[in-house]
């Protein structure tokens, strides 16, 4: 009898034990979730571009007022006055395009053809002081947005003038005539872009270069990069066979890599302009006046000789005269 009661209580004990055993094993207290503490929002992707618009001659810029305002005394109500009051001109530039805009690692200064043009504008605004520039390093995709949102006053970054861009920003008159070419290995047999059909060619995204390559009859396999200089890195690593962009940019690459050479004739025209907001037409006129003065008083040629003199001499032969600056066309 007692044994039976005992068995019953034993059974109850078994059930209790089973329940206890089913409880989960302990875990150490969880650290606050780092990922959720760091949530950030991602930007929406940009809309794809539509077909290129037509606009007559895109290089025709605003005719400058022949009377350039006295440096340091900008007329009230103009954008130049705002810049003068602020104390510095905010400029969008490249910091890694050798010859046109790059940081000199020894001095830390940004220098190049585009930069020297900006120094001239600074002199015209700030009583002869060329260094009143605040630099903002931008990549090709940022050239237009940074003008539109006012982050920079002006962009000097090997920027080609065309109708599509004219709808979004204003341009100065042409200050340099570049053209697209292709850079290949020094031991390559390619004579031009046509010999690179189907091969990997690197170029910058958001540039006229990539559009020109896509428009070729026999296009190469295009590798696009966000930062143009990455093309040279990919080229050096052997990931691409060639680089195709404006000839002056390629000249900067070739200057850094003895195993590269530029081949072929230009297969596009790339007239360079300085980008300015459509909201400040008087500033465009001011900049055009500065450029006009540079064309006539020899400053342009001096800048050309400083940055491109050696490259020009190599391709055209020693003693070839420095070319004339591109003429301005006005609306």
């Amino acid at each position: 009898m007692r044994l039976r009661t005992f068995m019953r209580t034993g059974g109850a004990a078994v059930a209790a034990v089973m329940l206890l055993a089913a409880c989960g094993d302990p875990e150490p207290a969880a650290v606050p979730d780092v990922a959720s503490l760091l949530t950030t929002t991602t930007a929406a992707p940009a809309a794809p571009p539509g077909p290129p618009p037509e606009c007559g001659d895109p290089t025709a810029s605003s005719r400058p007022d022949p009377r350039l305002p006295t440096s340091g005394v900008m007329p009230a109500g103009t954008y130049m006055r705002e810049i003068q009051d602020r104390g510095r001109l905010v400029v969008g530039v490249s910091i890694d395009t050798l010859l046109f805009g790059s940081v000199n690692p020894f001095t830390g200064d940004i220098e190049g053809f585009d930069i020297d043009i900006l120094h001239e504008i600074s002199k015209a605004l700030f009583n002869g002081d060329p260094d009143r520039l605040e630099y903002k390093a931008i990549n090709n995709a940022e050239r237009i947005p940074k003008i539109q949102d006012g982050s920079v006053d002006i962009v000097a970054r090997t920027m080609t003038i065309n109708c599509a861009r004219r709808e979004l920003v204003d341009f100065s008159s042409v200050y340099y005539d570049a053209g697209q070419k292709v850079l290949v290995r020094a031991d390559s047999d390619a004579a031009g872009i046509e010999d690179l059909a189907g091969q990997k060619v690197c170029t910058s995204a958001s540039s006229t270069s990539v559009e020109n390559l896509r428009a070729l009859a026999d296009p190469p396999e295009i590798t696009e990069v966000v930062d143009q200089t990455d093309c040279l890195r990919l080229f050096q690593a052997g990931d691409v066979a060639a680089i195709s962009t404006d000839d002056v940019i390629l000249a900067g690459f070739a200057a850094q890599d003895p195993n590269a050479k530029i081949v072929g004739a230009r297969f596009s025209d790339e007239p360079y302009g300085l980008a300015i907001s459509l909201d400040h037409p008087e500033f465009t006129q001011f900049v055009n006046a500065v450029l006009e003065r540079m064309r006539t008083d020899g400053t342009w040629k001096a800048i050309y000789e400083k940055w491109l003199g050696e490259v020009y001499a190599t391709s055209q032969g020693e003693g070839a005269p420095i070319p004339e600056p591109p003429a301005a066309t006005y609306r």
């Binding site: 007692r2 044994l3 005992f6 034993g10 004990a13 078994v14 034990v17 206890l20 055993a21 409880c23 989960g24 094993d25 302990p26 875990e27 150490p28 207290a29 650290v31 606050p32 780092v34 503490l37 760091l38 950030t40 510095r88 905010v90 910091i95 890694d96 395009t97 050798l98 790059s102 940081v103 000199n104 690692p105 020894f106 001095t107 830390g108 940004i110 605040e134 630099y135 903002k136 390093a137 931008i138 940022e142 930062d227 200089t229 990455d230 040279l232 890195r233 050096q236 900067g252 690459f253 850094q256 890599d257």
Partner: protein
């Protein structure tokens, strides 16, 4: 009947022995392997971030390459690889760790190669050096740091496994159940014998019952104490180690943000924003970010106030850098960020890292002491359990043999 009792004794012995054995191993594992692994994994991450920041600082300052940041870079890469080999030795078998370790081992030399290309080009005045530096950092961010994160998470899981093994919920109930069965069987046996033989006390069986009680309760008590000590060590030490380790990783990310914002030359918003996000995730010792969580769980007053001061000092130094950069004075911003002055953010960060390291070490020491106490609770239990089980078995056999002999 003898067989039945012996089986019950073996069951109790098995339940006690395996539980104690596993727990002792788990505590030792937590103490000697799992928790140090977490510190190693954190070390890999912070040393690599330190290397990247040093490379960036070298680049920013320009001119003839300064010896300081270069040596710092080399030392940090070496330290990271040392921690990696320690992690590989101790953590190779941890699930998910070996893949991460392999990825890091492959990619760090690639990263170092890109940094050397950056240097070589920089020395010649070529701007392509900047592109190599950018590629190196991208490799670190996109492939190496995620692997280091995976390694860290794997080590945290390994600790959680050890902790679970050291306190498995089934141990006590199973032992108790086996114990109840054994004791009930012993009592029932003695009652049966009393009915049949009219002898009240079978001395060996009585002794066996008493020893059986000890056999059950001794390990139960030991396990309970052990788990309590380990839980305490986890709350007072491990939690702090884990949290401060993550804070340290984030702090180095913020330091990197500062350098890269400057390298971006006027276009560094993205990094300044990340800096702010990271700083608010870190929080301060008395709010509800990571630091607050660590100090709430286990306050260490001396450390929390020093750490709060160091953090404020660094944040205000960074503020100066950011404001100077935004005002357009790039050269001054670089000096403020990289210089040796007491007010520079480089100096402030070094001081902050000292405090973080000291706090991490303190929590680790607390954990070690607590885990040591937990381990002590289980000292020799396996031996005792075995000895007592044998004694109970002897008592049963001797006691029952006496009665059986009488029947013959």
């Amino acid at each position: 009947m003898t067989i039945g009792l012996l089986v019950a004794i073996v069951a109790v012995w098995a339940a006690a022995f395996t539980a104690v054995n596993r727990r002792a191993d788990a505590v030792r594992d937590a103490m000697q392997r799992a928790e140090p692994l977490i510190v190693s994994a954190q070390g890999i991450n912070t040393e690599l971030a330190r290397a990247d920041a040093s490379a960036a600082a070298s680049f920013l300052v320009g001119g003839v390459e300064a010896a300081g940041p270069r040596q710092q870079y080399l030392d940090s890469i070496d330290a990271a690889m040392r921690e990696l080999s320690v992690a590989a030795q101790n953590g190779g078998s941890v699930e998910g760790a070996s893949d991460a370790i392999a990825t890091i081992s492959e990619k760090v030399p690639e990263y170092a190669g890109l940094i050397e290309s950056a240097r070589a080009n920089n020395r010649q005045g070529f701007p392509i050096g900047a592109a190599y530096l950018r590629a190196a950092s991208a490799l670190l961010q996109d492939e190496i740091f995620p692997a280091a994160e995976r390694l860290y998470d794997a080590t945290v899981d390994a600790y959680a496994d050890a902790y679970a093994d050291a306190g498995a919920a089934r141990d006590a109930p199973l032992l108790a159940f086996a114990g109840i069965v054994l004791l009930a069987a012993l009592v029932a046996t003695q009652i049966l014998l009393f009915r049949r033989t009219n002898r009240v006390f079978n001395v060996p069986l009585v002794l066996a019952t008493v020893v059986a009680l000890v056999l059950v309760f001794m390990p139960l008590t030991a396990m309970s104490h052990e788990h309590r000590e380990l839980a305490r060590a986890t709350d007072e030490g491990y939690f702090g180690v884990n949290t401060i380790a993550r804070v340290r990783i984030l702090a180095f990310r913020a330091r990197g943000d500062e350098s890269f914002a400057l390298i971006a030359r006027g276009n560094g918003e993205r990094w300044y924003t990340d800096f702010d996000t990271v700083m608010s995730a870190i929080g301060s010792p008395d709010d509800d970010g990571l630091l607050g969580a660590a100090f709430e769980e286990e306050p260490i007053d001396a450390f929390s106030s020093d750490l709060a001061d160091a953090l404020d000092h660094y944040k205000s130094a960074h503020q100066s850098v950011q404001e100077t950069d935004r005002a357009g004075d790039f050269d001054m911003a670089v000096t403020l960020a990289t210089g040796d002055a007491a007010t520079s953010s480089a100096t402030a960060f070094a001081a902050l890292d000292e405090e973080l390291k000291a706090t991490l070490d303190e929590y680790a020491a607390r954990f070690e002491r607590g885990a040591g106490r937990a381990e002590k609770q289980l000292d020799n239990q396996e031996v005792w359990v075995s000895v007592l089980a044998i004694l109970v078995a002897l008592g049963v056999v001797v006691g029952l043999q006496q009665r059986i002999r009488e029947y013959r």
